[in-house]
């Protein structure tokens, strides 16, 4: 009788234990707005969203996530302040920081600007990928971004109005060509300074912009910080388009993270569900997140081809998975500027690493979805009604 009773108790415990899910509560911390000063000399400021978006960390260990909140905001503020090209920033003593805006201000003056190691590192990375993409991705496109930016803001009178060819051509004069970078933009790593010399017909207005590169560079740095390595399973997000997942996901039996990718053809549906392992970064870029159709029925988006001054519309969305958020962001941004599948393959091959790639493209009048083998291995679900076509690029 005793034996039978024990067997029943164990069986009941097993049944109840198996079928009761453990509740996992997520905790999020969000970046705070920062003060951006309008001029270098006075104290008028405006409230600025770090990296023009929001950053957050979502984790399952409430105590550990909340434990890094203060440091998260300090680091966000520090990196944004250094990498922003629109405003000036001051340190806790009120002293002006030599940031990207200060570097851009120095254009053509011949002055060297002493800068933080962080700026030197990201400038070197930006130049590396500007050269690798042969100027399609180009950090020296500030003049172009300024020309196009208002076209995407519904608050602007220029909303949905293309710049004229002449305006684009003028802005292109201040976009530094790959062949001129080394003699025009000098990085002195010994003295920790940079010099932005005058070039070509650009008398003023040349400027560097990190765009999406800044926030993803920051994500990589953040997950590398000692205090952030230990916060348990979590998602580090920069602006919803660039994430790094960390650790084993406690709500999935395999420990992986399920990430849904937006469908550029159909707002009501997602394109695919991906299975991402801890430690990997996912980046996605698409034209429709900031774009319009002009009066000639041509689609325009905000990712500009640094060699032509215009957006290209072959790639409608690009999603990649790999180890570095910054590299993934550069890759998706560059892919958006390419004009055919051969260019896509050639660029991916130059990177020399296996990256999982998912592309929505427009070939003539036909929508297509291309996927490479490593991406195919992590697609859990194809939410679209289209078949994904496989491609390889030889890495």
């Amino acid at each position: 009788m005793k034996k039978l009773f024990i067997v029943i108790v164990i069986f009941v415990c097993l049944i109840s234990g198996c079928s009761c899910k453990q509740d996992y509560e997520k905790t999020s911390i969000y970046s705070s707005s920062v003060r951006g000063y309008l001029t270098a000399s006075d104290l008028d400021y405006t409230v600025v969203d770090p990296f023009g978006t929001y950053l957050n960390i979502v984790g399952y260990d409430e105590e550990k996530v909340l434990g890094v909140e203060e440091e998260f905001n300090e680091l966000t503020s520090k990196y944004h302040g250094l990498l922003d090209r629109n405003y000036y920033y001051r340190d806790e003593k009120g002293v002006l920081i030599n940031n990207l805006k200060v570097i851009n201000d120095s254009y053509g003056s011949g002055d060297s600007v002493i800068v933080d190691d962080i700026l030197i590192e990201i400038l070197k990375e930006g130049i590396k990928y500007t050269k690798l993409s042969n100027g399609k991705f180009n950090i020296f496109v500030g003049s172009l971004v300024d020309l196009w930016d208002e076209r995407f803001s519904f608050l602007s009178p220029l909303y949905k109005v293309d710049p004229s060819d002449n305006e684009v051509s003028e802005a292109m004069k201040c976009v530094l060509k790959v062949s001129d970078i080394d003699e025009t933009f000098i990085i002195d790593e010994v003295n920790k300074s940079v010099t932005f010399k005058k070039f070509g017909e650009c008398s003023e207005g040349a400027s560097i912009t990190f765009g999406a590169l800044g926030k993803s560079f920051f994500l990589d740095k953040l997950v590398g910080e000692e205090s952030f390595k230990d916060i348990g399973p979590s998602i580090f997000n920069a602006g919803q388009s660039s994430i790094i997942v960390m650790g084993d996901n406690p709500i999935r039996s395999g420990g992986d993270w399920h990430v849904a990718i937006k469908n550029s053809y159909n707002d009501d549906n997602y394109l695919a569900q991906l299975k991402i392992d801890g430690g990997l970064a996912v980046s996605t870029s698409s034209g429709d997140e900031k774009g319009y159709v002009n009066n000639e029925n041509v689609f325009r988006h905000h990712i500009l081809d640094g060699t032509s001054g215009y957006p290209n519309t072959y790639v409608l969305s690009a999603t990649v998975v790999g180890e570095s958020a910054m590299v993934m962001d550069v890759v998706t941004t560059t892919l958006m500027t390419l004009t055919n599948l051969e260019e896509v393959k050639a660029f991916l091959n130059l990177l020399g690493e296996d990256i999982s790639v998912l592309l929505q493209v427009m070939e003539g009048d036909t929508f297509k979805v291309y996927i490479n083998e490593s991406m195919k291995n992590i697609v859990l679900d194809n939410y679209s009604l289209m078949e994904f076509e496989e491609f390889s690029y030889g890495a």
Binding site: D49, T53, Y54, N56, V259, I261
Partner: protein, 132 residues
């Protein structure tokens, strides 16, 4: 004196066991179904949770800067058809009202200049951990 069990005792034990198992399974199915249906929009203002809105009830929530000093102007949060959006707000770039409808636990609405964050929470295991 030790009682001896006959075969009818074992039949009763068996029936009891089957009943217990059935009850557990049914209760878990019912519970998980109920959990899956309950979604809330959690409205956090200035870092503190202020509202927990049932996503099954269509409604508008009007927030004023007089009541919440971090707001740059009147803000209206709308819930309709199990989706939530910021219908009206004041901010330099209007990011959070431009974001429009959200119905996923994986996608928050963040109004940084107003210090308002809206997240959807539920008791079910979400299909996706992140949507982008």
């Amino acid at each position: 004196m030790e009682l001896k069990h006959n075969k009818y005792d074992f039949i009763i034990y068996g029936v009891c066991l089957v009943l217990i198992v059935c009850l557990l399974v049914i209760s878990n199915v019912v519970t998980s179904k109920a959990k899956g249906d309950i979604l809330y929009a959690i409205v956090t203002i200035e870092g503190k949770q202020k509202f927990k809105l049932d996503m099954n009830e269509d409604r508008e929530l009007v927030l004023s800067p007089e009541e919440y000093p971090s707001l740059l102007g009147e803000m209206i949060i709308e819930i309709k058809d199990k989706k939530v959006r910021v219908k009206k707000e004041e901010s330099p770039l209007h990011y959070c009202s431009m974001q429009s409808w959200v119905d996923s636990v994986a996608v928050p609405i963040v109004c940084l200049p107003n210090e308002v964050i809206i997240t959807i929470k539920g008791e079910q295991i979400p299909e996706n951990d992140w949507e982008m």
